[in-house]
Amino acid sequence: MACSPDPRLDLAAYARSLDCVHCGLCLPACPTWQELRLEAESPRGRVYLMRALAEGRVADPAAVRPHLDRCLDCRACETACPSGVRYGELIEATRAALERTAPRRGAAAWLVRTLLWQLVARQRRLRVAFRLLRAAEAMGLRWLGHRLGLLPAALAAAPPLPSQRAQRPLPRGLHRPPAGVRTRGVRVALFTGCVMEPLFGRVHRATLQVLLANGFEVVVPAAQRCCGALLVHAGHADRARELARANVAAFAEADVVVDNAAGCGCALGEYGHLLGDARAEAFARKRRDVTVLLATEGLSAAPAPCRARAAYDDPCHLGHGQGVRTAPRQLLAQVPGLELVPHARPEDCCGSAGLYHLLQPDLAGAIGRRKAASLVAAGVDLVLTGNPGCMLQIDSHLRAAGCERPVRHPIELLVPAT
């Protein structure tokens, strides 16, 4: 059967779909297949549908779009795939092709676009937006809206914002290790991203503190912007490229770029693919997750003791996306008093997945409940994971399960005793 691929999907992405030989080993790795048990909601089924789209065999692309929308882009299928299908690239290219040829209409689509283009990608606006949201929540507006039935399901289901005291902006520019700390003579540039600062500003401060205490010089470039991951996932690759170019330029001077959000890190590591030029490739090569940097270079400052039974949960874009699984565990093992307890399926998605928990609240809720159940069953009193969305989602589902536990970024446990 000779089919000429639809030019709307780029050929490289089409070729990737051909790597799949339909063996099915990816099915059990997929959270949406586990939940819905439908072929069209499995990686193999979605690859097949994307291939059919590219071959022009789909009569109405709008009919298959919901199946692609329900993909979390968690990449668990890439970890399971013996044939090496690069699923993430495939679904992102397909979403971009669909967005290009059949842009979504309607209020929801407008809202998402506005959110992505006007807010997420712009630090200052985002900060203001979060301040307003917190104020609204404090006044009980969400509760009210929910009671009056005025709130869309997505917002009603959104996790509560973590409380955060007003903080001074993270100081830009160069930071040197404090007096008395032996410097390593290595300067790293810190990538700060978009939502980590307004949601979990403490994680950036902890990252800075740990790096400095361990003898690194840290520079926080002022011209950096959002990584663009959410845009890529939603099929707005062109907009993402603008951000990527700005970041490549902002970090041009740096020898090493460190990031502390799995989703951002994964996207930064794929700039080479996104932009397709040598500078972007070089940028992608010099970036790493902060836990990878610290695990390879070794801790010189002992973390403060922390007596707790803790579970480490792999963020998808760290484990599946970057193949980083041992570095955070190895570092956490050095925290005095901390007992790392295994829990079922730590590599499974928690259902946060960028904007997914807002756009697919039912499915994200079911997947989040699974995650909470596995953590509750392990009987832990602290949960560790390295991505702001996951922190928020796990926190909210533990609360919903009546089992509230602190959820922290691993870097927060590496802060030395003062």
Partner: protein, 489 residues
């Protein structure tokens, strides 16, 4: 886009609700094929019942309208078994995934058909038990699918295939009535036919099992897994013959050839198989500590006697899992070689493995196809894999022609055209190599005893002409037995 809704669709939605009925033709593309991607066809609809009663209601409706249907599990079949014809409705059983009962002392479990093979073992592991048949796809394939195909797997050398592990089944017949086949309690009384045995391997053509009673096995006291690498396939095959010839019964005896090793090592399932070897033999021994220790030395001696390049013993469960991981991921890993993969399944007498492999290699060369071998050496069950580009008509034709000749070689050597993947739609043209028209007619009569109207997975397992024979009158005995098992309908 608005689409006319058929009466059938409306009725199905009335029975199951809109969430569990898929009839949008574009989404249905995802159900076009199983692991045998050469044959594709889009079903008319997909439904997902969640109980025996729902399966009965759906089948009654389809039977009344004379609409053909096809049961389906996880779709990892390699012979087109669950691929539906265009008029057929797929009965997708994945949502029936409960382990209904575990009888640890009596060593059996009752499961719904959508329970994943490995999930069953996970559910009984704490009791020191496991479910023995272990197809490569065991992390995803279902017990219902295993029952339909009489699936095998590496450990079937010692423990037997699915048929040896199914004690009974509650079956919804194609007209929606309910029949109970077999019984987990004790030996079968004399004079009662082995109906579970008959049902097992019927490839979804006899009805839909909604409760399956399977045997559970106790975990062995000790397990030893050994890898031996060889410079030639001949040495590997002779080692296999030697091991079996000495009266040893390993739990598994698996061989991977050089190109398979390379594909596996390039994949996420890399197992550390030596890249330079022409063949790798995996041997697993299980049983009491004392006997496996002794057998291990014998196996070692066999391998050494055939100039093994390297012999490696898995020292702990993690290492053992690693060695098996490569074998289980082998089919998928071959996806790295070309866009499509034709996984063949044939059997030859074990003593003729060497000859069969040589002839298969020659066939591959003559047709100019990329061919790899990974096989259950202990029982002579070969899996020659042909990599090809399904978009190229010539390549596809050559792959199919080579496959055809390979199956002929298996039959010529005294073997079979399928060891465990089934006939499905793939081997309809080959079944005549093995069976006479009379043999086929007997099979068609048995099938008609279960499905006189020919609605259940039509066009599979038996060529249509055999099914056309006069079949409706014969099987009164079978019908009576089935009738007795009927529950409240």
């Amino acid at each position: 886009m608005l689409r006319p809704v058929s009466n059938l669709e409306r009725e199905l939605v009335r029975l199951l609700g809109a969430q569990r009925v898929l009839a949008d033709p574009d989404s249905l593309l995802a159900w076009e094929c199983d692991g045998f991607t050469v044959h594709r066809s889009r079903p008319r609809a997909v439904v997902q019942p969640e109980s025996t009663a729902e399966v009965q209601a759906v089948l009654r409706l389809l039977h009344a309208g004379r609409v053909p249907f096809v049961p389906r599990g996880a779709g990892t079949c390699l012979s087109g078994g669950p691929t539906a014809g265009e008029r057929a409705v797929v009965i997708d059983l994945l949502r029936m995934r409960q382990v209904l009962a575990i009888a640890a002392d009596d060593l059996y479990a009752v499961v719904q058909p959508g329970v994943v093979n490995l999930d069953l073992t996970a559910a009984v592991r704490h009791l020191g038990l496991h479910y023995a048949p272990d197809p490569s796809s065991q992390s995803v394939c279902t017990i219902g699918g295993n029952l339909a195909e009489n699936s095998g797997g590496p450990h079937c050398l010692k423990y037997g295939t699915t048929a040896d592990h199914v004690l009974g089944a509650l079956v919804v017949l194609p007209d929606g009535r309910l029949a109970r086949l077999g019984d987990p309690a004790g030996p079968r009384p004399p004079g009662v036919p082995d109906l579970p045995g008959l049902f097992c391997g019927s490839e979804g053509t006899f009805g839909i099992a909604t409760e399956i009673t399977v045997r559970l096995c106790r975990d062995p006291e000790s397990v030893r897994t050994l890898l031996a690498a060889f410079a030639s396939m001949r040495d590997a095959c002779r080692t296999v013959s030697d091991i079996v010839g000495r009266g040893l019964v390993p739990a598994a005896l698996e061989v991977l050839d050089q190109s398979t090793i390379r594909a596996v090592e390039a994949s996420v399932y890399r197992a550390g198989y030596p890249a330079g070897a022409a063949a790798v033999l995996l041997v697993e021994l299980d049983g009491p500590e004392s006997s496996t220790a002794e057998e291990l030395e014998e196996v070692r001696a066999c391998a050494a006697g055939h100039a093994a390049l390297r012999i490696e013993l898995a020292s702990d469960p993690a290492e053992r899992a690693r060695l098996w991981k490569g074998r289980k991921g082998a089919f998928g890993a071959m996806g790295r070689l070309a866009t499509d993969l034709y996984v063949l399944d044939g059997v030859v007498p074990r003593t003729r493995l060497e000859e069969a492999l040589a002839r298969i290699a020659a066939i591959g060369e003559r047709h100019g196809v990329v061919l790899n071998n990974v096989f259950h050496a202990g029982d002579g069950n070969l899996h020659p894999n042909i990599s090809f580009d399904g978009r190229d008509a010539d390549q596809t034709a050559r792959a199919m022609a080579a496959g055809n000749e390979i199956l002929q070689v298996c039959v010529d050597l005294g073997g079979s055209i399928t060891g465990e993947h089934g006939v499905g739609s793939e081997k309809l043209d080959h079944i005549g190599m093995m069976f006479s028209p009379t043999d086929l007619e007997v099979m068609a009569r048995v099938r008609a005893a279960f499905d006189p109207d020919g609605l259940c997975n039509p066009g599979k397992a038996l060529p249509q002409r055999a099914a056309c024979a006069e079949v409706a009158k014969w099987p009164q005995m079978v019908a009576r037995v089935l009738g007795e098992g009927e529950g409240p309908a």
